[in-house]
Symmetry: C2
Subunit: 165 residues, 2 copies
Amino acid sequence: MAGRRQTASRVLPRPSGRGDAFEQWPADVEFGVLRELMGYALRRAQIAIYEDFFATVEDLDITPPMFSSMVLIRNNPGLRQSSLGRIVGIARSGTMTLVDRLERAGLVQRLSVPGDRRVNELALTDHGNTVLDELIRRIRAHDDRVSAGLTDDEKVTLRALLARF
Amino acid sequence: MAGRRQTASRVLPRPSGRGDAFEQWPADVEFGVLRELMGYALRRAQIAIYEDFFATVEDLDITPPMFSSMVLIRNNPGLRQSSLGRIVGIARSGTMTLVDRLERAGLVQRLSVPGDRRVNELALTDHGNTVLDELIRRIRAHDDRVSAGLTDDEKVTLRALLARF
DNA sequence: TATTGTTATACTCTATAACTATA
DNA sequence: TATAGTTATAGAGTATAACAATA
């Protein structure tokens, strides 16, 4: 059993349809150690935020990695496909899938580079730029919404604390 | 395109082997809006923590959901399989897979209930209890480690802020 | 030889839907 | 009819490994 490679299980639940996954909780659940663990607190918060994220951009068919990629592509002109993958933290093959999807949606284009014929530079299309503006507008609102329980000071504190990890 | 059901993409990257996914970043990456978003800060923090979590329990072949399930099972005697699923936030079929895995590893047992022959109550095996003790020991250390940059006060603050989501 | 993009393949996790047996 | 557990099936996401073209 020792050392067996486990590839996954880094998934966060998201209520997709109206399956049976999100019925009522039993009352009086005892969480034990979980209550003390930063990791668990973070995970629950993340679940809540993802839920709201998907509701926010549902009609645009955008996932969090797609959104961050678009932001990174706009803000780093000439970004290469492989660099994007490294920043986002996925394998080259996964970057393919991601960029394929963005390209198929007409949001991103691959541009060949004169100097080095191996590489693709990524750029938003006009449509991509328009969609990203709308996404940023909505996602800012979403972010304000999910952190509505916090004062501005607390938000600053929280971001600062999170950055330490 | 509107309203198309998207099932997934709530996955957090984890460096599993030594693939090409985790090479050096390009320098001077511009993150744009991402820097302001609580959701993004949370995601990055979560990635860092998951990474350390897996390193911590690698030899025991335990995933975060397995760990939380074991804690919940121990702390809520007579917990039913379906209740566990509801608490953790996964569908009944997914709960099956999870409990199957715990059972196959000899950590959890399904007990039939005299009153209602439809239900299974869950309990840790002796081995499960032993393993959970070890897990808690390690994961507490892991949690301290990843939040080492924080004072005790800051940890309290952070947990409190996260709980608001 | 190393790197970029690419394709093939496999694995994990999750979900929905349908089935069985109970209640 | 409704609920608990179960099984079947499909889909998304990721990874590793190998390949071609280029450097």
